[in-house]
Symmetry: C2
Subunit: 343 residues, 2 copies
């Protein structure tokens, strides 16, 4: 099965010097992959020459503009109609590509994708989903920051999208869904979460119940659902302590020549440990709820990391995520999730 991806070659902190080597790497690993590099033609060609690469499965789509990393989504939408980001998304709309990948400005990418592609019927708002490491494998979590104020219906829709993402990509027929909440005796979550719990219990999904922050990394459920404010804070807090631990470990090993020699002896183990939790391997967040597959890479991604974002796009394209979400949404129609006014 042939897959064609549109890569926003200009997006992110490093642009073509990251996106192009990553694309070349992906092409070498996937025989059936075609990539359209979108952006400044000359810059792209220069970078391709640097990498001594010519391949019939690669083409260039010129785009004259670039959305800045700090540009407002409104400005990007209004003033950058020939941006690499916009043109890459247009390629999905025109059915010339199945998915697009960008390391550009998150807000602009979301606004542009929503404007160009529109929402799936039954979904009120898009959500950002990502995979995270757990003790047994991978947890998928959403929303990670697209929606700060959510309704219970939004959370149910996120659950449907998350379940279908996981079942499509991993083949698991009934992924378990956890609703992120706070534990402890007296306190059983805020009002929206309580209502979302009710909706989820009545849905056709495999609803596990409430989970807490630590369950994300325990792997208690396949999917963890929350609003974008909570999801973003949870993710960044986890990143924060992981960085702190890494720094402390390095400091302790660098304390003096004795501890340095210990680090040298343990290098094999330390490198394996580092690799196992390497956030670059989890790069590539999915914008779910749109009529098209849009993958957001971390802005500061290197080419190793950007390659994983491309891989996410490949997995979602070949496993029909969109079709599966739509089917499940139709199943949930008796719950009227497509119209929040009816609930």
């Amino acid at each position: 099965m042939t897959i064609t991806l549109a890569v926003d070659a200009m997006g992110g902190d490093h642009g073509p010097s990251v996106t192009i080597p990553a694309s070349i790497n992906a092409l070498s690993k996937y025989d059936q992959l075609h990539i359209i590099l979108v952006g400044d033609k000359e810059l792209i060609q220069t970078e391709l020459q640097k990498n001594k690469y010519t391949n019939t499965r690669l083409s260039i789509q010129h785009a004259s503009e670039v959305v800045e990393m700090d540009e407002s989504p409104q400005s990007a939408l209004k003033n950058k109609k020939d941006s690499s980001m916009r043109v890459a998304i247009n390629l999905i709309k025109e059915e010339k590509a199945q998915a697009c990948i960008s390391a550009g400005n998150t807000g602009a990418l979301m606004a542009t994708a929503r404007y160009v592609l529109k929402m799936l019927p039954g979904i009120d708002r898009p959500a950002i989903a990502s995979s995270l490491p757990n003790q047994k494998g991978t947890t998928y979590m959403l929303d990670l920051g697209a929606n700060t104020d959510c309704t219970a219906e939004n959370l149910l829709q996120f659950a449907v999208m998350g379940a279908m993402l996981v079942s499509s990509v991993t083949g698991k027929p009934k992924p378990s869904i956890g609703l992120l909440n706070i534990g402890s005796e007296d306190i059983k979550g805020n009002e929206v979460v309580k209502q979302a719990g009710e909706l989820l219990r009545r849905s056709h999904l495999n609803f596990y119940g409430n989970v807490e922050g630590n369950d994300i990394f325990k792997g208690t459920t396949d999917v963890v659902v929350c609003d974008g404010f909570v999801g973003n804070v949870a993710l960044k807090s986890a990143e924060g302590i992981a960085q702190l631990m890494g720094r402390f470990l390095t400091q302790e090993f660098k304390r003096n020549w004795i501890t340095k020699s210990m680090a040298f002896v343990s290098l094999l183990v330390l490198n394996r440990f580092k690799k196992r939790l390497d956030p670059r391997r989890y790069n590539g967040a999915s914008f779910l709820g749109l009529k098209g597959i849009v993958i957001k890479s971390h802005g500061g991604a290197d080419s190793y990391s950007f390659y994983y974002a491309i891989r996410t796009a490949i997995e979602e394209s070949k496993n029909n995520v969109l079709e599966n979400i739509q089917k499940q949404l139709e199943l949930e129609v008796p719950l009227d999730i497509s119209s929040s006014e009816n609930i």
Copy 2:
């Protein structure tokens, strides 16, 4: 300066076998400390004998009941009027103790403390605050789970309490306050957080501005303020990834005899690393906003950990946290934070 603390000897998963050795340890380290052990007199005496301890700075206050770890706060309030928890809190009310420490049921402890001690004037709701490790020292964070739905005024009150806690305990005159929010271009937080930002900008506090989840562990500000839902999720997510990292590190070192020998060689470093992030050293969450100092230890605390909760109570008692909070609240009165209806 003499300090008298009431210790709920029966609270937590382990009761007297943890609380009593920890109390003995604290008495040995603080000359001016008096402890009233509250709970079943016989059990307490048996445990004291086991530890071969007699000390004039230690007394026992009998209490015939114990609040169960899974008991509802309502049941504890109604049916356990002679519980070790309730009697310990009563001792503050009766001015026989300056603070109390309990490892018991969080919800019941909060409800009982609120019922017996009442709130400080100007504070609508109590908050749970705790110290967390950062790259430079310690970040104080609140609320960690007492309030799931907060108003902007609640967040401002939390900021006042957090600032005064830090300035009292650390001596820092103007601790910086960060408002926990989500970064990224388009999205600037939910409505309540935006309003809280406005209030904080107009306050007399040293308001830094918005911070993100990773800033907690970077130490960007001295205090991080958020609602109890977000705070609890952030804390538990961080715990979750910390546990995962610890487990992965152990697994990599235990992989085979070569890696095991590397662990043996690196033991010194690994132990120092472990100690530096030992969550037991951060045990002892403060219930702020009450007319009395109440410290909650982790339910599963061992005696090393419970000792740190006692230490937190000592620090807060001798540094007049309550008086300082009240003074700052009076200063913020022009903002009418004491009456949310006026804002």
